[in-house]
Amino acid sequence: MRVPRSGINVRWQGTILPLLLFGFWWLSAQYKWISPTVLVSPVHVLAVLGDPTMRDALVGGIAASAIRLGEGASLGIAVGILVGFTLALSGSADRLFGPSLNAVRQIAMFAWIPLLTAWFGGGDLGKVLFIAFGSFFPIAMGICEGVKAVPPQLKEVGRVYCLSPWLQFRMIILPAATPAIITSLQLSLLLAWVSTIGAEYLMGGMTQGVGTFVMMGQDQVRPDIILLGVTVIAISGFVFNKLVRSTSRYLLRWRQI
């Protein structure tokens, strides 16, 4: 019989591989196994923060990206909620626009970047619209499917009680579809974050942002800037992911009884 392992033991094993990789990175940079134009040691990466111009560019970039994410996500999600409910509640709207929306969705989000930059430029307008575009689809589709999946028995209860259409929506459809809505909201926010980084990587333009910070490092062939920027992005993505997931778990806690 195998004794179940303790949680601590498992965690200890899990840290070995990242630590090894980190050590390998450090050593290979220290002893110049890899050319310093390609990879520099963690010390050099942190040294970028000592340079006031760089620090300002990074901190300002993080703030600019966060604002952009907020603007794009709220625009995309607001339109998505509107469109989602309209499609779900009105059969004729669904028949009119549903197929075209589905066709548009087939095209990978990032394939829109060239067209969006051509139409709206690579500045803030184009980027925010791209983020909005990315966050729009999950929420619109999620609401549409969530509302349609409300069990007919529940709707019948509403009709039996002769509820007005608004009350039927407010008391029955909305609560029943909430889990689906929150799940798709979560997806929308995560996609908005990816689109923010993608927009900053791919759309260029004279704006600030963490992604732009990385691109600047690439233009100037500064591996330290690239490494720092990518690390900051990775950590921020990890934190954002955790935050969104735990918030939605918190909002849905009533479901797990």
Binding site: P18, F110, A111, A118, Y201, I226, A234
Partner: protein, 206 residues
């Protein structure tokens, strides 16, 4: 653009890359997924690190990988393989862990040798989730290739698209977009057909 063969040649390049990326990525993903699903030791060593990596989208890593690998075929292969391997690893290892214990016990009662247990019970049991991962993986290969070609390439459909945008030939941009969508759809559709064929026995068996 269609007439002068630009699209055909670039599309061919891209599709060839997709094939390479999918083969390497699914091989890595299946290998990792099966070993993480079967062995607690592998899961304990690799699992936590792997789960952290999964939370960061492939796109974020591209500048770093460009720095390490240059902008040649190697970069595209690594980006695609990574994008492809992650969903496959996750679904495969979850699929194996979710196989009902009683199925495996049947195998043990019949004292089947390990490889038969693997090929007759564990892999078929996990096949639906493996296919799910393969489909996600193929979709990710295609999207990540388009992105990496837009960022760092001198050929391929993604490059063609951003080049046409630089020349402000928006009609060409739109043609490329429609192609990107159509190919994504076709790739998924063909894998769905394969899945339907392999999983015919599975219908209604749940």
């Amino acid at each position: 653009m269609v007439a002068d063969g630009d699209i055909g040649a670039n599309l061919g390049t891209s599709l060839f890359r997709v094939a390479k990326g999918f083969i390497v990525g699914s091989a890595v993903g299946l290998g990792l997924g099966i070993s993480m699903g079967l062995s607690q030791t592998v899961e304990g060593w690799l699992g936590p690190f792997f789960r952290i990596i999964t939370q960061i989208p492939t796109l974020v890593w591209i500048p770093l990988l460009m720095q390490l690998l240059g902008i040649d075929e190697g970069l595209k292969l690594v980006v695609m393989a990574k994008a492809c391997a992650i969903p496959i690893t996750m679904t495969t290892s979850d699929g194996i862990k979710d196989i009902p214990k009683k199925y495996i016990e049947v195998g043990q009662v019949l004292s089947l040798p390990r490889h038969i247990l693997l090929t007759r019970i564990i892999l078929p049991g996990a096949l639906p989730s493996i296919f799910n991962g393969l489909r996600q993986g193929l979709a990710h290969v295609w999207i990540s290739l388009v992105i990496v070609e837009m960022m760092a390439s001198t050929n391929g459909i993604g490059y063609l698209m951003s080049w046409a945008r630089t020349l402000f030939q928006l009609d060409d941009v739109i043609v490329c977009m429609v192609l990107v969508g159509a190919i994504g759809f076709a790739l998924d559709f063909s894998l769905r057909r394969v899945e339907a064929r392999f999983l015919r026995w599975h219908e209604g068996a749940t």
